[in-house]
Amino acid sequence: MVTVQDAWDLLADVPDPELPTVSVVDLGIARDVHYDGDRLVVTITPTYSGCPAMREIEHDVKARLAERFADVEVRTVLSPPWTTDWITDAGRAKLAGSGIAPPGARMLPLLVQGRPEMCPHCGSTAVEELAGFGSTACKALWRCTTCREPFDYVKAH
């Protein structure tokens, strides 16, 4: 029988539609995998209320798991709410490697977006916000004042 671990291995290959360098596991979108009888149940959670990619993620997860599992159900849950704290260390490294600054630590109050630790291009800590909203719900636009390059930042959330 294919195991829950096999399912996790397959999920680790399902890219996020909007941040394709990281997987749904790296981002902490895939929350749980278990068997309910013969049915494999996968729980996913949206990053933001309006994340337009959820449907596609659900479809991609199902399609990928269908390669080895006959009966798959994907459940979407809202609670507990997704947080950037769930992005794995591997996910953070992949983001940085593709020029996207991973989220910094969340500050108190929890609701502040934090700041990038460094420029993902040159490593400088001299960075400033250009715009609070970016090309996807989870990102803001920042720039490095050392190398002058702009970069995407995954907001601490």
Binding site: S49, G50, C51, L78, L110, F133, G134, A137
Partner: protein, 250 residues
């Protein structure tokens, strides 16, 4: 839970839906690319919140209406949104002031809804609370920038305040639906959010060098289904495709 719960959820959900529809009209027209993107992001978040609440209202109602039936097949008198959110976009300052007056309410409401006795509503609120906090940071910063900006932008913000202020109080006027929803633990009593709202809005206006207008007779009725003509036009545009092709899929 019963009718009061459905009405109470639609009051919030419809307010989010109508505001999201208003904001999307800026897509491709905002004064700067960054703002175009910002408003599209805010609209998406608020639309997502609306979808959750409308879906939940339909489940509790138990009449088989899903989010689409509620969004596309109700006429204006069945909408329960605040009058504030149906007000026209106007110039960018007007849109940002309207947004601040909404966000400052949302940022108090959602954290309270995290403690709703309805677990689905609490789940929606857990996400929305973080989003609302981010939104109000954006709208407040624009009200300050434009209010404390040039003579021209200051005058425009004064005009926007004059137009929108009478709509700022409706969200905090309790009626029997609100009392029932509060007693069941579904939602906080609207008036309980007012002190924090007032404090936040007055602080932003002060920083924006804009005067806090005296309390007017607050415009009301949207939450009971009495709307201005603006909503009819907005709904016509939002609903026309769905109504023309009721079972279309793609």
């Amino acid at each position: 839970m019963g009718d009061h719960a459905v009405d109470a959820l639609l009051r919030v959900g419809d307010s989010c839906l109508v505001l999201a529809q208003r904001l999307t009209a800026w897509c491709g027209h905002a004064p700067a690319l960054e703002e175009d993107i910002a408003l599209a992001n805010v609209a998406l978040d608020i639309l997502g919140q609306a979808r959750g609440l409308l879906t939940r209202a339909g489940e509790i109602e138990g009449a088989g209406r899903d989010e689409d039936a509620l969004a596309y097949l109700r006429d204006a008198p069945d909408y329960r949104n605040l009058l504030l959110v149906e007000q026209p976009n106007g110039d960018y300052g007007t849109t940002m002031l309207r947004q601040l007056l909404f966000d400052a309410w949302a940022v108090e409401l959602w954290p309270a809804l995290v403690f709703s006795t309805d677990p689905v509503v609490a789940g929606i609120a857990g996400k929305a609370a973080k989003e609302a906090a981010y939104h109000v940071r954006h709208s407040a910063s624009w009200v300050v920038r434009l209010g404390d900006g040039t003579e021209e932008s200051h005058q425009r913000m004064l005009a926007a305040l004059d137009m929108l202020w009478p709509y700022a109080g409706e969200a905090f006027l309790d009626d029997e639906v609100d009392v029932a929803a509060a007693e069941s633990g579904l939602m906080p009593l609207p008036s309980s959010l007012l002190p924090a709202y007032r404090h936040r809005v007055e602080s932003v206006l002060a920083e924006a060098t804009l005067p806090v207008p005296p309390d007017p007779w607050w415009q009301r009725g949207g939450r009971q289904g009495s709307h201005g003509e603006h909503l009819t036009y907005l709904l016509a545009e939002m609903q026309v495709v769905h109504r023309a092709h009721p079972d279309a899929t793609w």
